[in-house]
Each structure stands twice: as structure tokens, then as C-alpha cells.
Symmetry: C3
Amino acid sequence: MFSFSQNKLDRVVVNTNNFVTKNGKTIVFRGLNTSDPDKLESQGHWNKSYFKEIKEWGANIVRFPVHPSAWTKRGKENYLKLIDDGVQWATELGLYVIIDWHSIGNLETEMYQDDMYDTTLKQTYDFWRTIAVKYGKNTSVAFYELFNEPTTFNNTLGTASWDEWKKINEEIITIIRANGGEGIPLVAGFNWAYDLTPVIENPINAEGIAYVSHPYPEKREKPWESQWTADWGFVKEKYPLMLTEIGFCGPEDPGAHHPVISDESYGDAITNYCDDKEISYVVWVFDPQWAPRLFEDWNYTPSRHGKYFKKHLSSYSYD
Amino acid sequence: MFSFSQNKLDRVVVNTNNFVTKNGKTIVFRGLNTSDPDKLESQGHWNKSYFKEIKEWGANIVRFPVHPSAWTKRGKENYLKLIDDGVQWATELGLYVIIDWHSIGNLETEMYQDDMYDTTLKQTYDFWRTIAVKYGKNTSVAFYELFNEPTTFNNTLGTASWDEWKKINEEIITIIRANGGEGIPLVAGFNWAYDLTPVIENPINAEGIAYVSHPYPEKREKPWESQWTADWGFVKEKYPLMLTEIGFCGPEDPGAHHPVISDESYGDAITNYCDDKEISYVVWVFDPQWAPRLFEDWNYTPSRHGKYFKKHLSSYSYD
Amino acid sequence: MFSFSQNKLDRVVVNTNNFVTKNGKTIVFRGLNTSDPDKLESQGHWNKSYFKEIKEWGANIVRFPVHPSAWTKRGKENYLKLIDDGVQWATELGLYVIIDWHSIGNLETEMYQDDMYDTTLKQTYDFWRTIAVKYGKNTSVAFYELFNEPTTFNNTLGTASWDEWKKINEEIITIIRANGGEGIPLVAGFNWAYDLTPVIENPINAEGIAYVSHPYPEKREKPWESQWTADWGFVKEKYPLMLTEIGFCGPEDPGAHHPVISDESYGDAITNYCDDKEISYVVWVFDPQWAPRLFEDWNYTPSRHGKYFKKHLSSYSYD
Ligand SMILES: [Mg+2]
Ligand SMILES: [Mg+2]
Ligand SMILES: [Mg+2]
Ligand SMILES: [Mg+2]
Ligand SMILES: [Mg+2]
């Protein structure tokens, strides 16, 4: 399906509850999250080798988590150069790209889980205008993930209602499309992008979008499956769905933290669940210093987590 | 009507659909736009000679387009010194002044057509508080143009409704008047201050204001007149109206851009239309580097556009 | 009641219309306002001697007016060190503490009476999150005064409705409590924290809070009492009430300004009124340069105002 000789990937669009290319072929995405391009570039790892490794692990998509603090610090023009390079390398390797505005918190009150996620509604609108103008026609940049993890953090970040959050997402989608963004907006729900239950009654009022969940293992107790269906899996009956962050690590692994601690049984459960329902997913995170890390050193030695997903991603055959 | 010996011009007020002085005489304004005072001062041209030239061209009013970026960069105190000087020279020459908050875009989302127009609702409120406190009793500063050109730019700057925009204008008018601003607020509609149709059903809820349109030639196809009446001219039946930007240039002129390209037929049409209905207007722009330019060099050599309006402005007799 | 050997003061809570400690004893607070800790530290007076003097004057509570401009200038981390020290000294001396976000103006439009009060809704939320996280369990920090003096300044700062202001206060209270703030939120009304009349029909929707008024002498003409009852005193029938700023100075005293000019008859009236109804109060201000000053020099020589309140505060007996 992806060929090194292509300069251009086929545009992906929404067809009922699937992602399809213009020729009508359904694609299920399975890929990897980079760490922030700003972080990787600073450490000398934002290069084509890094993307080749991602490709070799079996990914067909890569997600760029753009932290608002990095965007602000580096400046719009300089940060876009990083994205330019990444999109170019991804395209050469046949990898689709998700650009992810990687904030965590409450856009309504403009309070965030940490200063690195700090942004404003104004900056968020401007980010998406900028991305739509720059990459709106670029078919590799298939997805715009509007806001990584919405959460009131149990109201420590103030309150937010689904109605308010829905309205903000709809405004961003309007801005993206008015500026020529032809990719697919990805919309997340509250509870750190876990909970999509409001979509039952009150879906986003826009065509051609997809929903996101981040079902890390400790969001629910085992057995997970029926809870996943009730919390977010039901969405796939009607809309395309992408789990833009999944992953696990053992309690002894570096950076282990709630809610990511589990073992290979989580890997089996989530991949079986996704494969069965043709739900796309992207594993967090292709960096040895962020957690759950997929590799341990810059020889790309897989971690426990990495061994699991390197094997699983390689098991898919794309015709 | 205007005498060099005056220290003070008569206060202009709204009387039904006209501008009148306190003694009841109606004034129709015809004048010129300066470029940004910050730009002129930086280039050594913000001086009384510049104002004398404006007077000699036949203007009875001058409009100062204060760009938010210039206001921010120079700082409030320093920028006010420029306005102080300009108001003083205008007063000495018998010219009324419009202070214009020269932004283009959507105050609701705080997105703008260019960084030079970047502002916030907070800064906009503060600007008008500052102007009202400083010039509220100054009778030369007859007009406060609240926001130069409101536009969603086809939703590329996000959405805005007339109800939201109306509410913002009403809040600014409240702020101006509470701070002692006795001049006349000028309110523009969407489509870069072209469209006043919502005023039919839903006028600004404030007495003593006037409306603005910027009917550049390419906003509509010829013949213009009936469209102008439907789009903004109808307002003059009920409220005072001022076209704070009109003008044209040929396609070969420097800086020629949509929607300003036309010829003298536009000049004839718009001046006849205005003269017939006693609509005030201000020609854009008295600067050799901005477009459509009225003069070509600092000897004030009129451009094609300048020749047209220098002649026309001089043709009016004010008793 | 307060012992120098205590490391910890009893938690104060709301019981119907009173402040009580956990063991059920009612406390009426009478204390002093510090000037801004940032100001005092810069001048070498933010030290335990200053707090000892406050204690010796008879206070059982001290209020820290944190100016947003000082918070921004010094930076969150450095400012918190000042509060840490102040809370420590207060605790050692058995003084309760009010942390007061000392802005004056309209949070809705983000316009303020002076640049030193400049803040945003975002910063205000973040301030209270920070304070709640840091001092939420500290029993000395008994009170959080959400916003010193709300006012539209006769609409010069734009409009605000009680419904909007109520909603902002409720959001801040939610944020404080979600972040573990166990102290008592203090809510003020418009007219520079004078007017609580909207509380009759439309009280803040939160349990365990108290209301604030700042009834400086010239807010009303003599005789004051029935007007005070109608304007804010009625609240004490149902809720706890604290006058976090009272005081007076003669017209000849340094810094004398409307509405603080009066004489000892005001002192008698306000203290009788409060003592009769068990209303708590805090006198403004324990600084020789701010007005009405309580002392004249750094030997703590009482001013006329200071003589009055030093004597009155010393007259209470706390068992
Ligand atoms: Mg904002
Ligand atoms: Mg909310
Ligand atoms: Mg809108
Ligand atoms: Mg704001
Ligand atoms: Mg309001």
C-alpha cells in the first residue's frame, strides 16, 4: 500500500465509520507517537533515521505531539520547520501524520495540568489556522488532533461542560476548514481523552470527523472490554475512532505512573479489541526518556512495552 | 466655517441622520486618511506641513488609523504624544479628527488578517477608555471609530454573529461615554466594514452614534448605486453615515490589490452618491507607500487617484 | 485562646452566620491589614517584629493584600516565599490570616482602576489554585478573599452584572475546594466591595462561605446605621460577615481621599455596629505610607486613626 517511490500519499477521508482513501480502500491505522519534535531536535534525533526506525517497527502512521510551551518558546516559524522536515520524512517512508496540539487541561478556564501545556483559546485557534494554511492540502498530514487531553482534573482546573467543549471544537473545525484544511479533525472527550459518552446524545456538529480515546490500562479495572464499549467503543458503530495514545509499562519501569501501569495482558486486550472492530491506534511513545517508553537507548533497543508492540505492529499485513 | 484663529472647533453631535454643530448647522465631512502616525513619525513626516497639505487638498476632516501593533510597540504614553501633536495641528487648521482603532478581523476569536492588526478585547476596551479620558472633551476629536474592519474573512478567522458584534460595540460605547467621551462613536459592519444590512433589523442600542461603510470599488460590480443603497446606503435614511475609507487605483499602480482597483468612474459614482445623500467620506490614503496612494513623493505630487480627489475635494464650498 | 506555644491554630469553619472553631467556639475577628508583603519586604519590614507589633495592638487576624502587579513582577515562586514567612510568623503569634487577591475593578472586562490592579480571569483562577494547593490545609490561613474590590467604577471599566460576578465567584470557589482549600472563601459585592444587596435575592451558590463589605465612612452620610443594615448588615442575619477594610483619617492626614475621610465618630459607629452584631472587621492599614495609615513611622507611633483602633482592639477580651 505504501511505496517508497511515492511523493504523495492518497488523501484519507471519512466514509461512515471508517477511514478510506479516495479509491475507496479502508485503512486501519496502527502507529507510533514521536515525542515532541522540539525535544527530539534539541537532542539531535529529529532526523530521517528516527522515522525509518518507526517505519521498521511496522507503523503506518506517526503522531507529532506539539506542546504549546514548545510552540511558543521556539516560535511559530521555527517550529513549522520541524514539522516540515517530519512531514517530508514521513511522506518519503509512506507514513501518515497526525498533528496533535498536545495540551492537557481546560481550555474554557485556560488552566492546565502543568505549565508545559499552557495555552489560550486565542493561541489554539491561531495554531489550527496556521496548520490548516500550511498543511491543509498535504495528503500526508491526514489528521488534526484538536486538543490532546481535555480534563477539568476533578475541577482543580475549573469546570467545563460538554456543551462548551463541543462548541470550542466546532469553532476550531470551522477555522481549519475555512483555511483549507482537508484532513480529518480528531475530537477527544473529557477525563484525559478517555470518555466519549456525551457523543451518544450530543455529537460534534460537523461531518467528516473522527473521535479519539486514550484508554490507558488503569482507566478501568479488568475485564476491560464491556467498559471500553460503554465508555468509547460504542462510537465506532457510527463514527471512525482512533486511540491516539495506548501503552503500558510495568511498575518498575522508568517513569511508571498512573494510569499506564499494566502488562502484556493489556496489550493483548487492547489490540484484540481494536483489531476486532477495526479501530485505529497509536502507541505512546517513541522516546527513551518519556513514559511508557518504547525503546531504552538510541540504538532503539526495545523496552518490554516496545517488544510487545514492535512484534504486534509487524504482524499486520497491508495489501 | 473653519478659521485659523480658532483654538477650538465646535462640538459635532448627531441630529437624526445628520452631523450638526451645537449651533444647528449641518456638516458633511470630506477628508483624508493619514497613514499610521507611528509610521509617519518614524519617517519624519508627522508634522504640521503634512496637515497643511491635507488642508490645502480641501479636507475638513482627517482620520488617524492607529494600528494595534504600533500602539503596543510604541507604548500607550508615547503613542498618545503623536496623537496629541496631530490633534493640535488639525485644530490649528480647522480639521476635525477621527481616531480609528485600525484592526482587521474578528474580536470575538481574537484572530486577525495580519499580525499588525493583532489585539484583544481587553486591549480594545482599554484603548477606548484611554482615548475617552484623554480626548473626550476635545471638540476636534469628533469621532471614535471603534474597530476599522470587522470580518471573519470567510470564517478563516472563526465565526462571529451580528449579535455578538453588536454587544461588543455597545460595551465599548458604554466605556467611552462613562469615561467622558463626548464624540460620536462610529460603528462598522462585517465584510471589512462594507455590510450594514443587519442594522435594518438590529441596530446598535445607543443614541448619538453613526455608521460606517468602506465601499471600495470591487466590493460590487457596476452599476453600483442600487447595491450600495441595499448594502449600506439605506442607513442614511435614519442614521448619520460616514464612508471612512473610499478610493481607487489603476491595476498598474503600486500596491494595487482587490478590492480597490478601478478608475475615475468609481470616483464619480461614489462622490455623486455621497453628495446626493449628504453622506460624509474620507479618502484612503495620504501616504506615498500605502495603497491606493494619494501622492507619489514627499513633494506631494498627486497620483492619478490623488488628482481625482484633490480636484473633487476642492470643489466643495463650505459657507 | 491563642497561645504562643501553639504550632497550629484551630480550623475555623462557618456555622450558620458565625465563624466557629472545630470545638464549636465562636470567634469574632478584629485585626489589621498589612500593606502588600512585596512592598514591606522591599523596604525591609516584612519580619517577625512587624507581626509582633500587630499582635500587640490587639489583633487576632491579619490580612495580606496581594496586588496582582506585585505577584506578576516578583513571580509566583518568590511571592509565595513572602506568604510562607508571613503565615509562619502569624501562626507563631496566634494570628489568623486572610489572603486577599487585591485587585480593584471589573474581572469581566479585565479593566481595573489602576495598572497595579491589572490581572486576568486566567491569572485569578491560577492564583487561587496556587494558594489552595499551597495553604489549603494550613489552618492559620483561615480565609481566601477572592477579589478585593469589584467595581465597574460607574461603567468606566465596562459593565458587569451580579449574575456574571456570582458565576465567577462560584467558579473560583469550585477551583479552591477542588484543590484542597479548606479555608473560608470571602465574597464581596460591587461598589468597591460596599454593596451586598444582590445577596438578598441571589446569594452565592456555595456552602461555608462568608461575605465582605468595605464600609468606609463616606460611602454614606450620617446617620449610618440603618443604611449599613440595608446595604450589607442584613447579610449577618443569615451568613457570616467580615468587614475586611474599615478605617478613617482626618482631611489633613497624609493620603486623605474619598471615601475614607471622617473622625472618631466613625470609629465609634462602626465598632459599636460590629460589636453589637458580632461582625468581624479588619482595619486598613498597618503601614506609614499608605492611607489611612495606622502609624506614622517605623517606631510604630500611632496616627490619630491608629490611636483610636489600637485602644479599641485592646479593649476586647478573648477567653
Ligand atoms: Mg482570552
Ligand atoms: Mg465552566
Ligand atoms: Mg463566534
Ligand atoms: Mg480574556
Ligand atoms: Mg458586562
